[in-house]
Symmetry: C2
DNA sequence: GAAGATTGAATATTCAATCTTC
DNA sequence: GAAGATTGAATATTCAATCTTC
């Protein structure tokens, strides 16, 4: 659309520029972080996030549905992803005794070791491409704004 | 990893929180916008971006390699995507006479009409989920920070 | 040999249907 | 019937190889 196709609710030129910067960063940064992680440790950013969530939980285990919520993934997607990670020996599934519909996803020692090895590199990558290229104020403003947006999106899936 | 696993370059608790807000927003917002677009008009956000870029260009056409750059897509990905959009009648390919290695991607009337129909809804969706939930200052800060990050990522693909 | 672009296979994600237990 | 979870097919993306023209 050309900039002459204006209407009551159109974005003005500045808003459009800001919006495109968002698109660019939110496309390029995950690509880059995932590539860094893959080249150094053979896992994707999605795999890494799962390892982190499991490592933070008591007994290094999380129920599948809760893991899906925490990683902002659909259940189907998570299920397939855990299949792959299980094949790679990073996690295992265990029956849930309290609720027999449920499954625990459990971090293996191999998964833990991989996370320990990958974490410093990943943090370095996050710093290099995001945190360190911004002033502390800019980074804070970015995160806070994202928090507002994300909260609204989680709240009303309307 | 637990928060006790600190090191010289680790992110502190606040930085981690900010970082996770970024992940949440950059995961949820595109999902949401793409879903809105798909339900109302049968196209993805990626399709929409391509229609926009074509519509903005002289004679509604862009060279494949340039289109890949503009949409931050790999050439392979774009090639497959244009296959699908060509099948759907939204774009066509045309030989490039100046450089016979090249191809033009051209917006069809059907594609144009679809963009015209979808654009107001999409803009409304962007406003509802992003622009309007932030103060103007917050939105500006978000976009500016994203611009800095994106520029660095484009500049040195190191 | 490099740039423009595509191809097919491998991998990942989405979608709708299904199954079990609550 | 709803929640937890999975399954297989359809769709989309990545990766490495290839082809043509510069």
């Amino acid at each position: 659309m050309t900039s002459t196709a204006t209407g009551p609710h159109w974005l003005d030129a500045e808003q459009q520029w800001l919006w495109r910067q968002w698109i660019a960063a939110s496309t390029l940064l995950p690509d880059r972080l995932s590539r860094d992680l893959y080249q150094a440790h053979g896992i994707s950013l999605a795999d890494y996030e799962i390892l982190v969530r499991l490592s933070e939980s008591p007994q290094r285990r999380v129920r599948m549905s809760e893991l899906a919520d925490k990683t902002l993934s659909s259940r189907s997607r998570l299920s397939h992803q855990i299949d792959r990670m299980e094949k790679a020996g990073l996690v295992t599934r265990e029956m849930c005794t309290e609720d027999r519909r449920g499954q625990w996803c459990v971090l293996t020692d191999v998964g833990w070791d991989l996370l320990v090895a990958a974490a410093p590199d990943h943090v370095e990558s996050v710093r290099r491409h995001l945190v360190d290229v911004l002033s502390p104020e800019q980074f804070t403003a970015l995160g806070v704004a994202c928090g507002v947006v994300a909260d609204r999106l989680v709240a009303h899936q309307d």
